[in-house]
Structures are given as structure tokens and as C-alpha cells.
Amino acid sequence: MMKKISLLFAVLIFWCSSAYAILDVEITQGTEDALPIAVIPFSWAGTEKQPELNWSDVVSSDLLRSGRFAPVPENELLSRPQSNEKIDFNTWRVGAIDHLVVGSVSPAGNKKYTVQFQLFDVYKGEQLLGYSLTTDMKSLRYTAHHISDLIFQQLTGQKGAFNTKVAYVTVKRDLGVSSYKLEVSDTDGFNPVTVLTSSQPIMSPSWSPDGTRLAYVSFENNHAQIYTQILSSGERYKVSEFKGLNGAPVWSPDGKKLAVTLSKDGNPDVYILTLKTKSLSRLTRHWGIDTEPAWMPDNQTIVFTSNRSGKPQLYKVKGIGQKPRRITFEGEYNASAEISKDGQKIAFVYKDEKGFKIASMDLETGVIDVLTDGPLDESPSFAPNGSMILYAEGERAALAAVSSDGRFKQRLVAKDGEVREPTWSPFLK
């Protein structure tokens, strides 16, 4: 067994600043009510060569990907005012641009930089935001995403999630040999880091609530085992290797437990594993399939998939010893629930005559919205601010995202191979 583990390498080189994106983002469906905004290229105030980052492009791309904004393409900008100039707002009013961002970068000594930006309301001719931020070579993209977060929050009232991460699994098939990788990148596909490489399947990554660890399933020893891994060090722990299934790990909101699926007692059931003590409690007890647990924010209630009615449907159980209640009744296949951080909505895989799609359901009203077109959509994952849902398009082996109202869609295509099982990180500190 040790020999096999040595064949694998679990590497981690964290947050190296690279200009390389592993995923290409394309917008597949825009919305008409996106807010027009112009982000002017940031000026450079130094005498030496400026750090390689197109600040306005990163901010514009972030705002575009949120689906809430329609940034003016750089080559269509009416003029290029700099931060200290007086801005002629009339020009922008005529162009029907609501908001304007100007910025500048200057050296701050000791390999550090000062980034200043201002956000203006064009119609009122007023400054809404003005910040001066210090950054270094390693944090350029981070700082640019932070600017996007500040603008997004100011204009939508919602916390921005541009400085978060996505974990996903990639597969390359070459002459019958497969290579599976668990990767983590920025939400725009930049800064990809390989967390684990294996010749056997890797599945079901789940973020710890503090964003420092991943739990996942690895078949590296020819059967399913659940691991947790510290992202900063690469250190990992085998937490479940019972006979039969060891699957679907999901971290509890307090970070102390994993909900998992085991078949050690005869058929797939959901169990709660307390990480510190390794103690195990059985949550479901049924001869059918019970799997794909998802935690409600109360750290107790779990939504899961069961075929106890004959077909897969979603059920809710308020903790150990409680009786599960069915919560989906529309359609013959509802599975793989993911709960929004505020506990108000679930996203799940929903089947209709055209195939498998991503749908969301308001847990209070029970109203279902079908958000995607299928035919092989799976693995929904909410952004930490609830604004978007990431998912996998099985037919294209690509990732995609849809706004939680279904009106805005984009696709994230891997440059090489298949990509699947996206999992959006929580807000990171």
C-alpha cells in the first residue's frame, strides 16, 4: 500500500502568481439589464517597467462574469481620463454609461506598489468610492479582484466573491490511460494549483468552511477512500476506508464533522463522522440508496438523495434519529442537492424530457426554477454570496455558471482534457 501511495504525488505550490489561466471563460447568455460601466486602463506613474497586469481588464472581466454589469470593451472607450484629471461626465452620460472607474499604479518602494482607484456615478457626477491599496508582485491579481469586490458591493449591495477559489477534477485520457487531477484555481481560471494527481478516479471535492482544506474521494488504492488535505502544506489524512462505499464527503458548517455515504452495513446510507474523535453516527437507515448529503446552516439538518420511493428524490432530515421528509415531488429524478449559504435555496440535478438540468428550489415556498438547458448537467455549487451557481456540462466536459435567477450564463472550458465537479470555495480570509 505504501508503494502505491508513493506512486502518487500530492503536491502543493500555493498561490504562485502566474499569468496562466487553465480555463477559458466565454459568456453564453447575457442579460439586457446589466449595468453599463466603463473601467479606464489604469495609468502607471513609475519610471521603471510596470508590473505585468492589465488591471482594468481583470476588473472588467470580473464584473462581466458576475452577469450584473456590461463593461465597455477597452477599444470602445469614449475617452481615457486619468485619476487626477477632471472628468467630463457629459461625454459618458451621452454614451449612457452609468458608472466609471479610473485608477493608477505607482511604485511604493521595497518591491511594493500603490494602487489607487475611484468609482464615479456618471449621472450625479459624484465619487462613490475612492481607495488606495498597497500590493506586491505576488498579490497583483488578488488586489485587482479586491477592487472588483469593492465595486460590486458598492453597486449591488451584495458581497463580491471575486477573490474566492474553485476546486474541480480534470481528466486526461491518452491511449486508454487516464490521469485524474484535483485542482484549485481562482474563479477566473488563473493560478491553477494541482492538489492531487492519480491514475485512478478522484471525486467529490468539498471545502472546509474556513477554506483551508479539501475533503475528497480517491480510488488510488483501487477502492474508494475519503481523505482530507490541508491546502497550504499538502498534508493529508485518510478519514474513511470502510468496506464498500466511502463517498460524498461534505464538511459541516462548524468544520468539525463530515457527512459521508458508506455501505458498510449493507447498502448506501448517510453517516456523520466526527473528525477529531473519528466517531461515526448513522443518519439514515433504509434498504434503498441514501447518499449525497448537504448540510443546512443549522449544522444539524441534512438534505440527501434517496431512491426509497423508487426514483431518486430529495429528502430532509433534522438530525440523528429523526424521520426523513421528502421535499421534491416534481419530476422523476432530483438529486445532488447543494444548499445556499443562507439556507434559503437548494440547487440540484433535475431531469425532464430533454435531459438532466440544474434547478433551484426555494425551501420556504417549494417553487422550482429550472436554470439550465441540459442535457447532461450535474454537480451544482453555489457561490458564497449566492449570486451564481457553478456546475458541470457533461456533454462538453466543461464547467459552466448560471446566475441564480437563470438569466446569465457562461462556460469555462479547460484548455486540455475534461473538467468536472466544480466546487466553489467559501469566502477566504
Binding site: T291, E292, K351, L376, S379, G394
Partner: protein, 187 residues
């Protein structure tokens, strides 16, 4: 590991067998676990003979359950993949004989082990499919044990939709991917 024998995808049993409505897992197997002659056992099976192709009759050689029969292309035991309907884990009527014969093979060769690898097609959610693959492999396991194979000879693992043999997004591929593969290994 080096003793894993190759899985042969002989389509012998599949060609020309019309699909049967699924029935309960163990209902079709009436035989005991003795080493009665194989052509007899095929006849005493309560299946509808009209649905069988010629390839299903098991009358190859004097020792049908000899150890190397699983590698003999002329033996039905070289067929080591069982196929399933979408979202179902019931062994179809057309595969019951085959599973029965593999059960008897294991009963006759207690030093052989089999790994039952459960698989699904790509449709639906991934972890549900892992659970479904497990149910498929468990259904085969129960039928093997009914014929005298022991717990110690059987290992069950489910890969769900993670290891397809056909990669297109259509029923032709999906039907090949919904399967349990028997992977033999000497103890």
C-alpha cells in the same frame, strides 16, 4: 495485481437477446450448488429458452468449470460483463445464466477470487451513480453466493460513472457503460 486476468468483452450472449423486463434479483435461480453437468443445468434453469441464442448453451469440454475456463474464448465464462438498464440494479433475465455459471465456477474453484466492479452511464449525478454501481455489483454478488461462491472470494467496488468503456453521449455508449465487470484473480 499481475494476476488480474483480462476482462474479455465477448458479445456472445448479448447479440440477438431481446431485452427482458427486469425481475427480482434471485427469483430465476433454482439450482443447487453441485457440479452437475452443465448442459443439464442450463436446461433446468427456469428461463424462457426461446430467448436464448445458440451461444448461451454451456456444453464446452468435459470440465466446464476447470480453472482456466475463464480465459477460454470458447467458454461462456470468458464473457465477464453483465449489463443493466438505466437506473436499475436488477439482473436482466438474459444474464441470469451467465451469472449462475460464474457462481458455480467460483464454487468449484475456491482458490479463485473475483472483483465485481460496478459501473453506470454518465447520466444523473456522480455520487448517486457510485451508489447505483454498488447496488449492481451487490446484486451480482448475491447471485454468485447463491450458487456457492463465498464472501471471501468476492470483493465489490463501485466506480459509478468514472470509468466508461464507451465515450460517446448516446444510448449505444450508455448501454455499454451500465455494467458490472467480473475481474478474476488467483488467491
Amino acid at each position: 495485481m499481475r494476476n488480474y486476468m483480462l476482462v474479455v468483452l465477448a458479445a456472445l450472449l448479448l447479440t440477438g437477446c431481446p431485452a427482458q423486463p427486469p425481475k427480482d434479483d434471485d427469483s430465476g435461480s433454482q439450482q443447487g450448488t453441485d457440479n452437475q453437468s452443465v448442459s443439464d443445468s442450463a436446461q433446468t434453469n427456469k428461463l424462457d429458452d426461446t430467448n436464448k441464442t445458440e451461444g448461451t448453451s454451456f456444453n464446452v469440454g468435459d470440465e466446464p468449470y476447470r480453472k482456466d475456463a475463464i480465459n477460454d474464448a470458447s467458454s461462456p465464462l470468458s464473457q465477464q460483463t453483465i449489463y443493466f438498464d438505466f437506473n436499475a440494479s436488477t439482473i436482466k433475465d438474459e444474464h441470469r445464466d451467465l451469472v449462475t455459471w460464474h457462481g458455480r465456477y467460483l464454487a468449484s474453484n475456491p482458490d479463485m477470487k473475483v472483483r465485481l466492479e460496478g459501473h453506470t452511464d454518465e447520466r444523473g449525478s456522480r455520487e448517486y451513480n457510485v451508489a447505483l454501481g454498488d447496488r449492481r455489483a451487490q446484486a451480482v454478488s448475491r447471485m454468485l453466493m447463491f450458487q456457492g461462491a463465498t464472501n471471501k472470494q468476492i470483493e465489490v467496488v463501485s466506480f459509478g460513472e468514472e470509468k466508461p468503456v464507451a465515450l460517446e453521449h448516446d444510448e449505444a455508449s450508455w448501454s455499454q457503460n451500465r455494467r458490472v465487470q467480473l475481474v478474476y484473480e488467483a488467491m
